[in-house]
């Protein structure tokens, strides 16, 4: 693969990250209200106390100066100190990122597998009853609002299946070893509902894209040629149709994996799953700029990185792109 191609893509990625940094910085400051102005209504607070906190965190300085400082700090890997947690943003982000990856990776793997499988069958048996059943059900689930689907699953799962309501662990006052078999089973029990919510929402997209690109491939002349050569159906699907139809799926999976790092805000909020999505939601409520910037930066970097990898993978999968 051409080095020039990779370098060009890398340059584009870095430029995008810089743009995102700048955009986020100003975006959160356009939001009405400031983290400490919100405290003012708290009992025993006064405007002098608010001003004192503002200067403690440098919020009384001109915006451009705050921006320059922010860029400087970000470059050396210092994402700042959270206004509410009073600890470095990176220390808050990393454990949350792990929690999100556990949940989202599982959900993505399941829904990709399901999506490809169902999409292949639906495409192969296009127009048939199975296609109808798969396409309608996934389309219906795909178009359902996540928070609403999540709430329904929460009620049904808790009331009729005795699943836990929230969080990642059951608490009984003891410190449990997270690697003990019982703890892992407990974690899996907590994962069922949020994971199901995500899988139901994500699968539809994969089914539809898989089916769509498969149908495109089927109309190609080389498929007819292959069929005329007497190649078996299974081989035809695997070697000729699937390989070509897999290209758009690569992009979709890459983008979704990148976005997955940002957590699913709605799902994490409903199930109080302590991931990046929930962190973002809470930081937004308290106008915790450093945490918000940190969360958005992580998401942006993940999406851009995954796109960069997808571009490289694309070049590998499709020789036409390399030479173009």
């Amino acid at each position: 693969m051409g080095i020039e191609y990779a370098v060009k893509k890398l340059g584009q990625s870095i430029a995008t990250i810089f743009f995102v940094l700048t955009f986020n910085f100003f975006l959160f400051r356009i939001l009405p209200g400031n983290p400490f102005a919100l405290l003012f209504r708290g009992p025993g607070f006064s405007r002098e106390l608010v001003n004192q906190l503002n200067s403690q965190f440098g919020l009384d300085q001109p915006l451009w100066l705050q921006y320059v400082k922010y860029l400087e700090n970000t470059l050396v890997g210092n994402l700042g100190i959270s206004y509410t947690y009073r600890s470095p943003v990176l220390d808050i982000l990393i454990p949350r990122l792990m929690n999100t990856v556990i949940l989202l990776l599982t959900a993505t793997v399941i829904s990709v597998a399901l999506g490809i499988g169902m999409g292949l069958i639906a495409g192969w048996r296009r127009g048939g009853k199975i296609d109808l059943a798969f396409s309608t059900s996934t389309l219906l689930l795909y178009s359902m609002p996540t928070f609403w689907l999540g709430l329904i699953l929460l009620f049904v799962g808790v009331i009729y299946f005795g699943l836990p309501v929230s969080g990642m662990v059951s608490l009984n006052g003891e410190l449990a070893n997270p690697l003990a078999p019982a703890s892992i089973v407990d974690l899996l029990r907590h994962m069922v509902l949020p994971c199901l919510t995500l899988v139901l929402g994500l699968t539809g997209e994969y089914v539809l894209i898989m089916k769509g690109s498969l149908l495109d491939v089927f109309t190609e002349d080389y498929m007819l040629t292959a069929k005329a050569k007497g190649i078996s159906n299974a081989k035809l699907l695997r070697d000729h149709a699937f390989k070509n139809a897999a290209l758009p799926m690569t992009t979709l999976i890459a983008i979704n994996l990148g976005l997955a790092v940002g957590g699913a805000i709605q799902t994490e909020t409903i199930f109080t799953w302590p991931g990046i999505g929930l962190l973002t939601y809470q930081a937004l409520l308290t106008r915790d700029y450093p945490v918000l910037q940190g969360c958005f930066l992580v998401v942006a970097v993940a999406v851009i990185l995954m796109n960069f990898l997808a571009d490289l993978l694309y070049g590998y999968l499709d020789p036409r792109i390399r030479t173009a």
């Binding site: 102005a37 607070f45 403690q56 009073r86 309608t136 005795g162 006052g173 409903i270 939601y281 809470q282």
Partner: protein, 602 residues
């Protein structure tokens, strides 16, 4: 074919959904925790840090947790009375000097004995770090010095006599261990204080920010070990999830308060007891009376405000907005502050004719468009701004606008982000605002302080949002703040409330209830009283007397006062029912649309 299929799907789904609806209600099983573990759900501001000195909000998770782990010199009982905590008793040497005799058997969670030196250290530490402790720092502002006479005798000298020293300052001032805090050399504004070492009834075990805190009973607690072994505070992002967790046994008590709409679904579970106590806050209407403000100037006329107050039906508001779970108020001191609230202050009765008459007499005539105009030609057109974090109050603003419309006043309710609304008030640009004040302590001084000239006449604004000033009020306020005889002080506090209502400075609307659900089938021993439970988690009362059912204790298992409701109608929560109905509608609509589209194609 497709039509038949989708109809079939619809019918099957409906049957399934209705089957769900009429199934046996959830059995109050308790799979998740052991019987001596008491779990509290929490859905207010998140538990984002543990350091007690950095807590900023009284309803913040951090505040609640640190008040359980740490003790103060004094605490409040469930009726709001000041009772001993680390201080066994105290005497006033003179109005500015207090001698405390301290508990002799208190130890820190690491085994080191507690002494008067810890208190002296704490007070000096907060005084020295006021710049980074803006919130807790204000409670030491009136302390001139603190001195340990011996290990268990402490003397505090005040700068001026202070009526609120116990009920406000000492109730907030958490005592930290000198042997741990004095050895920290870093910046205290980012001190995590992990693990926190206190003297309280529960010891720190583990904490996952914004998820949960696990605590264990302190067997050496100097006032006797708690009956429960483990205490868990679990954070929920939605009140629906918290209610579900109570029903499924994941938690045993909700906090800080539930909306009145979930009461019906909780009472359907026979194991759950719903109890209510007045919250430490109240909702009010403020009028922009500031002389140089840019709000509608007619509001500076006292007669106009009185007329507007006659045109607000507070009983109706309490019924419609809080479904009756609120106490109508005649003064700015809410009923939750017990005897500090003056029940005899005459209020403006709801009377639209009287209201119209006051305006007619004052020369505010109805114009050709039906809107009244002041003698100087200003139309009575107002905005009623409501902060978006209290969106349920928008309904109240709409009802008020309706009544005012009937007396020729045009009012438009508007939801605003609270940060922007605060800025608008500070610049005196508002007309009428519906907002709330809450207290972090059991003293009326905070609620009354915002009407003093120094707090209500600043540009940009200080604490107050009325822009009102009155010399008699200021004088009486200063007088009460230095009056150490509670009976005399109460008379002055009553007078202050009378003045405010007579001048229609605010229109105090109501004081809502803190509604909570409790697993009465598993635990007992919530002390009777009036203070909402979330406030006295930190006061040992609740957590020391709660115990699992079936465990023999000396505590009488008396239940809370207030509304109790344990109706045993089977059925799952209204939220679930509503959700399922919505599922049905969506499925039916989707099926119809899909069927039609297919038909059109063929």
């Amino acid at each position: 074919m497709v039509g038949v299929l989708s109809k079939l799907v619809t019918i099957l789904t409906s049957v399934f959904m209705f089957a769900l609806l009429f199934q046996v209600p959830m059995h109050p099983a308790r799979a998740q925790t052991s019987p001596d573990t008491f779990s509290i759900g929490w859905d207010s501001s998140p538990i984002d840090q543990i350091n007690p000195m950095l807590t900023t909000l009284y309803d913040g998770g951090a505040w609640v947790v640190s008040h359980i782990i740490y003790d103060k010199l004094v605490q409040s009982d469930s009726y709001g009375n000041i009772i001993p905590d680390l201080a066994d008793n105290w005497t006033y040497v003179d109005p500015q000097t207090i001698t405390f005799s301290l508990a002799r058997n208190a130890t820190w969670h690491d085994g080191v004995p507690f002494t008067a030196n810890d208190v002296v250290f704490t007070i000096n530490h907060v005084i020295a770090n006021q710049a980074i402790y803006p919130h807790i720092g204000q409670y030491v502002q009136n302390i001139a010095s603190a001195r340990a006479i011996d290990n268990y005798t402490l003397q505090i000298k005040l700068k001026a006599p202070d009526a609120t020293f116990f009920s406000a300052s000492l109730l907030q001032l958490i005592i930290v261990p000198q042997h741990i805090w004095a050895s920290y050399t870093g910046n205290f504004s980012t001190y995590t204080d992990l693990p926190p070492i206190g003297t309280g009834p529960f010891k720190f075990v583990s904490w996952e920010p914004n998820s949960y805190v696990q605590l264990d009973a302190n067997p050496n607690y100097f006032r006797g070990a708690p009956h429960i072994k483990h205490l868990i505070i679990r954070y929920y992002t939605s009140v629906n999830a918290m209610v579900l967790a109570l029903q499924s046994g994941e938690i045993d008590l909700t906090s800080p308060l539930l909306p009145p709409t979930v009461v019906a679904s909780l009472t359907s579970n026979p194991g759950i007891q719903v109890f209510t106590r007045p919250d430490l806050r109240y909702f009010y209407l403020t009028f922009n009376e500031f002389p140089n403000g840019t709000g509608n100037p007619t509001l500076r006329d006292e007669r106009v405000r009185q007329a507007l107050e006659h045109a607000v039906d507070k009983n109706e508001l309490a019924q419609r907005v809080w479904l009756g779970f609120a106490q109508v108020l005649n003064t700015v001191v809410p009923t939750s502050l017990g005897s500090w609230h003056n029940p005899n202050t005459p209020d403006y009765t709801f009377d639209l004719n009287m209201s119209a008459k006051i305006l007619d007499d004052a020369g505010y005539k109805v114009g050709p468009d039906g809107i009244r105009v002041s003698p100087s030609g200003v139309k009575m057109i107002y905005r009623i701004d409501v902060p978006s974090d209290y969106s349920e109050e928008y309904r109240a603003a709409q009802l008020i606008a309706g009544w005012w419309g009937q007396i020729g006043v045009k009012a438009t309710p508007r939801l605003m982000d609270s940060g922007s609304l605060g800025n608008e008030e500070a610049a005196w640009q508002h007309d009428v605002v519906l907002w709330t004040w809450s207290a972090d302590f059991l003293d009326p001084s905070y609620f009354l302080s915002m009407f003093t000239t120094s707090q209500d006449m600043c540009t940009p604004g200080c604490l107050g949002d009325a822009g009102w000033s009155n010399a008699t009020y200021d004088k009486l306020f200063t007088q009460q703040s230095q009056e150490t005889d509670p009976a005399v002080r109460k008379q002055i506090i009553y007078q202050l409330q009378d003045i405010l209502t007579a001048h229609a400075v605010y229109d105090p609307l109501y004081d809502n209830d803190a509604i909570n659900g409790f697993r009465a089938d598993l635990f007992t021993g919530i002390p009777p009283g009036v203070i909402p439970p979330f406030f006295y988690f930190g006061e040992s009362g609740l957590l020391l007397s709660v115990h699992p059912i079936g465990m023999a204790t000396e505590t009488t298992s008396s239940m809370s006062t207030g509304t109790t409701a344990t109706v045993s109608t089977p059925g799952i929560g209204t939220d679930a029912i509503m959700g399922l109905i919505v599922v049905l509608i969506v499925v039916i609509v989707a099926a119809i649309v899909y069927g039609r589209r297919k038909k059109a194609q063929t």
